[in-house]
C-alpha cells in the first residue's frame, strides 16, 4: 500500500496562487507553511507582507498577518514584537521594499537587534508595479526604468543588502539562498528555520535573502528564469551563510 510522500501543508490555505507561472514567491510561501507546522509556531506567528507581488500573502499563509506600508515592515515588526514579545514575528519583503524605501527601517531594526525575522525576496526587479529597476537589479539588466540597461555611472551598482545588514551588531543570523532548484529550495527551508530559531532563542535580528525567479519581468519562460538565477544572479549575490554569531564569532 502507498503512503503519502508529499502533501499540501496544513497551514497553506486552499487557493490558487495569483503569482505568475514559475514565480518563486509561492515556493517560499509553501516553505513557511511547512515550518509553521514542523516548528509548531503557527499559533505564535505574525506575518507582515508589505505591498509587492506578495501583498496578498495572507490569502495563502494561515497565520495572523498585517499589511504594512511600503518599506516599513521592520518598523511594524518592531512595534508588534515590543508590544508582544512572545510572538514569532516575520516580515516578507521584496527587494524594492526592503532594500530601497525600507533601507533605514531594516538597518536600524537590525542594529537594535530586534528579535524579528526578515524574509527578503530578491528578484532583481519591482514585480508588482511592472518590472522597474530594483536596488538589486544587475548591471546592464533592462527594466522598465532602465530601458538601456542599468549603468553603474548613472544608477549605481546592485546593492548587497545582506552584507550591509550583517555589519550591524544586532543582526545574528543572515543567509542568502535561492529557490531555483531542489537543493537550493531545501537550503532555503533550513535557513528560514535557523532564522526563526535565533528569534525564538531571543538572540537578535535574523534575515534570509532568497534569490527568486521573476519570469514575467525578466521576460523569460519559467525554466529560463530558474537557470538565470544560477548563471547570472548568483555571480552578483553569492549564496551561503553571511553571518551566524551563534556558530561563529561576530563577523564585523
Amino acid at each position: 500500500m502507498m503512503e503519502k510522500a508529499y502533501t499540501r501543508p496544513r497551514f497553506l490555505k486552499r487557493k490558487t496562487f495569483h503569482y505568475c507561472p514559475g514565480c518563486g514567491h509561492s515556493i517560499v510561501h509553501r516553505l513557511l507553511c511547512e515550518l509553521f507546522d514542523e516548528m509548531n509556531i503557527q499559533d505564535k506567528a505574525i506575518g507582515i507582507p508589505p505591498p509587492g507581488c506578495s501583498v496578498f500573502a495572507y490569502d495563502y499563509l494561515d497565520v495572523d498577518m498585517v499589511e504594512s506600508a511600503h518599506g516599513r515592515g521592520a518598523a511594524v515588526a518592531t512595534g508588534i514584537k515590543r508590544a508582544y514579545p512572545q510572538a514569532v514575528v516575520f516580515t516578507y519583503q521584496g527587494d524594492g521594499d526592503l532594500a530601497a524605501i525600507g533601507t533605514a527601517e531594516t538597518i536600524h531594526a537590525a542594529n537594535r537587534g530586534e528579535r524579528i525575522t526578515a524574509i527578503f525576496i530578491n528578484n532583481a526587479v519591482y514585480g508588482m508595479t511592472g518590472g522597474q529597476m530594483a536596488p538589486t537589479t544587475l548591471l546592464t539588466q533592462k527594466t522598465t526604468t532602465t530601458p538601456y540597461g542599468r549603468d553603474d555611472r548613472i544608477e549605481g551598482h546592485p546593492i548587497r543588502m545582506s552584507e550591509i545588514v550583517a555589519l550591524t551588531r544586532g543582526s545574528v543570523y543572515i543567509e542568502r539562498t535561492a529557490v531555483n532548484s531542489p537543493v537550493n529550495i531545501r537550503k532555503t527551508k533550513k535557513a528560514i528555520r535557523r532564522a526563526f530559531e535565533t528569534q525564538i532563542e531571543d538572540l537578535g535580528f535574523s534575515l534570509v535573502e532568497i534569490l527568486s525567479p521573476c519570469p514575467t519581468n525578466w521576460k523569460m519562460n519559467p525554466m529560463e528564469s530558474w537557470q538565470w538565477v544560477d548563471s547570472v544572479m548568483i555571480q552578483e549575490f553569492p549564496l551561503g551563510v553571511i553571518k551566524d554569531t551563534v556558530r561563529t564569532t561576530d563577523a564585523d
Partner: protein
C-alpha cells in the same frame, strides 16, 4: 513503479518546472488547456516514478501530491 503522483490540473500553471527536474522524466505536458488557459503537467503512469517528490519540492503551485511505497 514504486511511486506515483497526482497533479491538480486546475492549480497547475504549466510552468514545466516539475518536468525539467523529474529525474525519471515521468511527467509531461498535457495538450489541453485548463480553464485558466494553461497546459497542465500530466503524470505518465507507465514511467518509473520512484515517489522521490522532487516535483512536489519544486512545484510553485503546490499542485502535486506524491505517493510512495
Amino acid at each position: 513503479m514504486t511511486g506515483y503522483i497526482e497533479i491538480d490540473d486546475e492549480l497547475c500553471k504549466g510552468c514545466e518546472v516539475c518536468i525539467s527536474f523529474c529525474p525519471k522524466s515521468a511527467i509531461c505536458q498535457s495538450d489541453k488547456l485548463n480553464t485558466n488557459g494553461y497546459l497542465p503537467a500530466s503524470f505518465n503512469k507507465d514511467g518509473e516514478c520512484t515517489g522521490c517528490a522532487i516535483c512536489a519540492l519544486v512545484c510553485p503551485e503546490v499542485a502535486i501530491e506524491v505517493y510512495r511505497g
